[in-house]
Amino acid sequence: MKTWAGVLPRLVLIALLVAFLTNPNWFEPLLKPLTENNAPVIYNQGSLLTLTLLHLRTVLIATVAATIVALALAILVTRPVGAEFLPLSRSLVNIGQTFPPVAVLALAVPAVGFGEKPTLIALFLYGLLPIFENALTGLTTLPANIVEAARGAGMTGWQRLIKVELPLSAPIILGGIRLSVVIGLATATIGSTVAARTLGEVIIAGLLSNNLAFILQGGLIVAALAVLIYDGLSAIEHYTARRMGREADGG
């Protein structure tokens, strides 16, 4: 019963999003009052669906890269070989989080030029931090008796990592990935200030031509994507947490 009440609004949201992306003209009457002087109601310099897919692609590439690097680093500093780097990596993560996304984006432009690349770099750097932090928490707060048992069973370090430590910390690591995806979805819109093709293009076109309908449709698509992806990843997280018998305690 309870699950239906939770699922239904999401299904409606998905249906609305798909309908809007495939047939934006259906919604024209709704947005019409927001425009002035017969300005176009629906973004007309590119298909909303294409921009949404490009937006998602940018976030996906950046998140996958960030996950691989952050996870590798977190594994490294929690092994005896890299233990020396653990305190330093903690302070670096702390420092890194203070860098504003706009600054990262703008500073990446001289190095790689305009377009998708600076956006990918900014999203990658921004995505690293939550994943790294959560992976570190996951790998350093494993129940000692389980790790001991794995060692007692004669597992090598590598086997322990793959079969015990990573699966057990999976829910917490997923939590970090979820955070970084949601941040990435919003940050990718700023990427359009350096000419990346994302949904930010729609919002910026609206800001430049004073067209509220554009701003609203761009903003709402991103917000809907963020809510849906957040929920989807939360569900996966709860599922793995239940399977691992480790309730996700982090937000």
Partner: protein, 411 residues
């Protein structure tokens, strides 16, 4: 028994062994040092130290350390870099590493200014000298060394703020002394000195003002959510959804309602409320700030031990006394963490206000991106990063101090 040294054996051999051992100890590699050595080697050998451009937007040509500095100073800087790298490379005492990091960073900071003066042709006001990738990588490498030392020294919160103040004063002195005046970023500054400080104060006002408003509204709202469970989920949900709206969209969306208020509510326009400009930026930052403040207030109050509350009740405290005398002080470090998140986030987000005419350092960033003048981008980005960084260090120190004070008091 067998591993005891033989009585009356060859003492000289024993001493020789120990000497070899200490020598081996001193020559042991530091793992981070190896990383730093690789980075500095790349920066010195393969990356340019400074860039020379004929004017502010043409592509530049690279200059190495030896090309960028006068005859005697180039080798001197190289020697300092090599020396500091060697100290970093082996396991050396912390204070020596600290000195190496500070000396290396200070000489880099001084020398880049010298390079600016040296490379600028006399009387040429169009030429632009800027630090190039090699310089930034070297700064990064030695900052890494310094960060590692400071982390290992495990400084007290006050000492960390002290380090921050010393660094800020050092940079301030370099700026005032004019030794950086021939660098491109300061040439951009010289052309815009007035607007730099105006936008800067707008930036700080936006970030701090919206934080203040969020604290005034958010704290009571958080307390209310803590007391009334039915309210909690819905308020937090709404605030969560606001966070998912991308910042540039939220800024844009507020233009319409605020424009309407300005033209329909008497006196609103006189207060400075307008559709574009500071007002929508302020409201957007305020809305983003609410979630961390409210959520951390709720979490902090929920974490107050039941025993403390029971004891307060048993002493006959009223609800209000309990709130201000017991719950609030105990939850304070957590609430402060929320404030820290908000402040750092606001300083960053305030750059976006420039897109809707709200001012702030973002003005330079977006102008610079538009003109592909990267020095102008830096003029906006560097102070923003510095402000966010300083705010994070100071608030972290305050949080740690309040948390430890509490622990000492309860112990």
């Amino acid at each position: 028994m067998s591993d005891l040294p033989p009585c009356g054996g060859d003492v000289r051999q024993d001493r020789g062994g120990r000497l070899a051992q200490t020598l081996l100890m001193t020559l042991r590699f530091d793992k981070l040092g190896v990383v730093i050595a690789i980075i500095t080697a790349y920066a010195v050998l393969l990356a340019p130290f400074a860039t020379f451009r004929a004017n502010r937007i043409v592509p530049g040509s690279a200059r190495s350390i030896l090309e960028a500095l006068p005859a005697a100073l180039g080798p001197l800087l190289l020697a300092i870099i090599v020396g500091a790298t060697i100290i970093a490379l082996f396991k050396t005492p912390l204070l020596l590493r600290l000195a190496a990091g500070v000396v290396a960073l200070a000489s880099l900071a001084l020398m880049i200014g010298v390079a600016g003066t040296f490379l600028t042709p006399a009387g040429n006001t169009f030429a632009r000298i800027s630090p190039a990738s090699g310089f930034w990588i070297l700064i990064f490498a030695f900052t890494l060394l310094l960060a590692d030392v400071l982390t290992r020294l495990d400084l007290s919160p006050l000492a960390r703020v002290g380090v921050l103040v010393v660094a800020a004063v050092a940079v301030g002195l370099l700026l005032v002394s004019g030794s950086w005046n021939d660098l491109s970023i300061l040439k951009e500054y010289a052309n815009r000195a007035d607007s730099f400080w105006a936008e800067g104060s707008k930036h700080v006002t936006l970030a701090l003002g919206s934080l203040l408003a969020a604290a005034i509204i958010g704290l009571p709202l958080g307390i209310l959510c803590h007391r009334v469970e039915r309210l909690r989920a819905s308020v937090l949900n709404v605030l969560n959804i606001i966070q998912t709206v991308p910042s540039i969209a939220l800024f844009g969306l507020l233009i319409a309602p605020l424009g309407w208020i300005a033209s329909h509510v008497p006196g609103a326009a006189a207060l400075g409320i307008r559709g574009i400009g500071t007002a929508p930026a302020f409201v957007a930052l305020f809305l983003y700030s609410l979630l961390p403040v409210v959520a951390n207030t709720v979490v902090g109050l929920a974490g107050v031990p039941r025993a403390a509350n029971d004891a307060a009740r048993g002493m006959g405290m009223t609800d209000r006394q309990r709130l201000f005398g017991v719950e609030f002080p105990l939850a304070f470090p957590v609430i402060l963490t929320g404030i820290r998140i908000v402040l750092v986030q606001n300083i960053g987000l305030a750059t976006i206000a420039a897109l809707i005419g709200g001012g702030g350092f973002g003005v330079f960033v977006f102008q610079g991106v538009g003109q592909t003048a990267m020095d102008l981008v830096l003029l906006g980005a560097v102070p923003t990063v510095a402000l966010a960084f300083a705010a994070a260090i100071i608030l972290d120190a305050v949080i740690e101090m309040t948390a430890t004070k509490r622990r000492v008091q309860t112990a």
